[in-house]
């Protein structure tokens, strides 16, 4: 018997009114982005937007509720962008998208910060946390302190482990690792990337899903990732279903699985039936694997979408998960 859990990798679009209010309050330039010490009015807008995001997920009937990461102006680079030991420089491209974030340059010790924990403490009703995975966060940043790649990845993993340990109790933690796909680790580095994930996952009681997207992880780093003590690996079945299913067939996966079956970057809204069909296709393609839990999710974070489509996708996803469970 498989339990289907409808959830998301977070990173929601701001409600349109909050977009306007925050542009007016914060401004449009790089120096105006979130610093971790926002003023009263800005905090109020975020609080309202956060409550809306939570209510929206509850109304849609999602099985896990995220905070929405609405303050994450720099997307997955956020936890570093607000850190005291990090300088933010020019605007750089965010993966292969028409989106940009401030390049975070690590200039000192990455000690405990607490920004994400504070965000969740302020969000009643949230039962899933979202963090960048250590490999992706290290790939998004520039190191001017630790000196070599291995030491830097280790430092980022240590930092994220401390941030994760401080989170309030949640059911699930999603670690987002798109860089494992887009800039896969080389020989040797793949083992370290897996160990880094392990270290963050160890810091929490919650079930941990390492979610990958924008394609499929190459075989070797995937095989290494299987060594990490996580509850599930998440796959992008929108952008590359064949390679992802191959990875599962060839190397197996955990007892639980994350299935990115809703397109987070296209306004075309999938019907619940289409979503169910995609989940069934994966299950039928790996008959040897019996999943205890399926996390049915969009493949990516959802800020790429306009609000009306984002909302429609949450509803379709929740409805689909009920059918899968039924």
């Amino acid at each position: 018997m498989t339990e289907a859990i409808a959830t998301t990798p977070g990173l929601f679009p701001l409600p349109d009114r909050a977009k306007e209010e925050l542009s007016d309050l914060k401004g449009h330039q790089k120096g105006d982005l979130v610093s971790g010490s926002e003023s009263g009015e800005v905090v109020d807008v975020y609080e309202r937007a956060r409550s809306e995001a939570i209510e929206r997920q509850q109304a849609a009937g999602l099985d896990r509720v995220v905070e929405g990461q609405l303050r994450w102006d720099d997307m997955l680079a956020h936890p570093l962008a607000v850190h005291d030991s990090v300088e933010t420089r020019g605007i750089v491209r965010y993966y292969d998208n028409n989106n940009f974030y401030r390049e975070p340059v690590v200039a000192g010790e990455l000690d405990y910060d607490g920004d994400v924990a504070a965000e969740l403490d302020a969000a009643a009703g949230v039962d899933q946390a979202v963090l960048p995975g250590p490999y992706s966060l290290s790939e998004l940043a520039t190191d001017e302190h630790y000196g070599d790649e291995a030491a830097f990845l280790d430092a980022v993993a240590g930092f994220l482990a401390e941030e994760a340990a401080a989170l309030p109790a949640v059911e699930t933690l999603f670690l987002l690792e798109p860089s494992l796909v887009t800039d896969p680790p080389d020989d040797g580095e793949d083992r370290r990337a897996s160990a880094a994930v392990d270290r963050v996952a160890d810091a929490v009681e919650a079930d941990v899903v390492v979610h990958t997207y924008w394609g499929a992880i190459p075989e070797k780093p995937y095989a290494h990732l299987m060594d990490a003590d996580v509850d599930a690996i998440g796959f992008d079945f929108v952008s590359d279903h064949e390679t992802n299913v191959y990875n599962i067939q060839e190397y197996g996966t955990k007892d639980a699985v994350g299935l990115g079956v809703v397109d987070g970057q296209n306004t075309l809204v999938e019907t619940p039936a289409e979503i169910v069909e995609r989940v069934d296709w994966v299950r039928e393609s790996v008959p040897a694997q019996e999943f205890e839990t399926v996390y049915a999710t969009p493949n990516t974070g959802l800020f790429f979408l306009p609000v009306n489509r984002f909302e429609a996708k949450l509803e379709a996803l929740a409805a689909a998960a009920e059918e899968v469970s039924a």
Binding site: P13, N99, T267
Partner: protein, 347 residues
């Protein structure tokens, strides 16, 4: 009729050499135009679309004149009627719909459109804009058009199996528009393809789009391609195969670090070289711009060099945008005089 670049040489041009000066296209809008748009969108006001039209005509006159005063040889209207480089066209093409703003970065958003059914030519795009500008300017007018690859890449695609097919369909529509523009008298068209920089591996798709775009367009129509903010070595020299007369490239922003890319393999087209930075709010000195122009001679001889800013100037304060254009023209004229006097080493 004089053909080639010579047709753009002003009758009163003082120097024998002619380094054609122009801009990429967009320019800061006067604050009152933005205010007028807000009023027209606000149902509580009686500021109707006719008044907005009048305001846009006024702005187009003002900014075209600003280009003329700066001394540019080929002008545009600063794209006063266009809200955004994808939205404007998506609004006019049948098959597109809008769902609301999406984030580009920070609190900068755009109404990223969705292609919801097959695209087809809807409302007229740019003929009125061209005719108006040509009617008020005493010199040649260039028409910038967002290219089909960018129109496809920066939209949500709900209707086509892939973005490639969508780009080709859009290329046919761009071709249709250029035919109309040429009928109206346009002689200089610039296709803007910034999306090529984000996905350079698709350069063959952009080439196939351009083949469609120039289909049946008379030879004498000058067609340029603007590309910016990318790693040019990933698209060069392949882009030389494109059926265009001129490549308009951002290079000043990176202090000409990428210039070598274009000298390793002979540059066979005309080069419109970015000689002022579109994203720094300081006006470069005439001397600095002259040095930048001379960098262009490393790639092409003077008779194939066009002088232009890196990119659209719309994000700059207006006085800075004007200052950059004015200094750019002065620098070009001084370099021409030095070329005439044999003072520039072209080897």
């Amino acid at each position: 009729m004089t053909e080639g670049r010579e047709r753009f040489r002003p009758p009163d041009h003082d120097n024998d050499h002619f380094l054609m000066t122009t801009v990429v296209g967009s320019y800061p809008k006067p604050k009152w135009l933005n205010r007028a748009k807000e009023l027209a969108e606000d149902g509580d006001h009686d500021f109707d679309d006719d008044r907005l039209e009048e305001a846009m005509d006024d702005a187009a006159r003002l900014i075209t004149d600003e280009h003329v005063r700066a001394g540019l040889d080929v002008v545009v209207d600063g794209e006063m009627r266009r809200n955004e480089m994808v939205e404007y066209f998506a609004d006019r093409i049948d098959g597109y719909g809008f769902n609301g703003p999406v984030k580009v970065w920070g609190h900068n958003y755009f109404d990223k459109p969705s292609v919801v059914e097959e695209v087809s030519y809807g409302e007229e795009w740019l003929v009125d804009e061209y005719e108006f500008t040509a009617g008020i300017a005493d010199r040649p007018v260039k028409v910038p058009i967002t290219g089909p690859y960018t129109l496809a890449s920066w939209s949500f695609n709900e209707a086509y199996d892939g973005d490639e097919q969508l780009a080709y369909e859009l290329a046919d529509l761009v071709n249709e528009e250029i035919v109309r523009l040429v009928d109206a008298g346009a002689q200089y068209i610039q296709i803007d393809e910034p999306a090529l920089a984000t996905t350079p591996d698709d350069h063959a798709i952009v080439g196939a789009c351009l083949d469609r775009i120039v289909d049946d367009i008379p030879e004498h129509v000058r067609v340029g391609l603007h590309v910016c903010y990318g790693d040019y070595f990933r698209i060069y020299p392949e882009i030389l195969e494109y059926p265009v007369d001129e490549f308009d490239l951002e290079l000043c922003n990176g202090q000409y670090e990428q210039l070598d890319v274009f000298t390793d393999h002979e540059f066979t087209a005309d080069l419109a070289l970015g000689v002022v930075d579109a994203h720094t709010a300081e006006v470069e000195s005439v001397e600095q711009i002259k040095a930048n122009i001379r960098r262009g001679f490393e790639v092409v001889p003077p008779e194939r060099l066009t002088v232009s800013p890196d990119c659209g100037l719309k994000l700059l304060p207006r006085d800075v945008a004007y200052g950059k254009m004015k200094n750019m023209v002065r620098a070009a004229r001084e370099v021409e005089a030095e070329l005439d006097a044999g003072e520039v080493d072209l080897d």
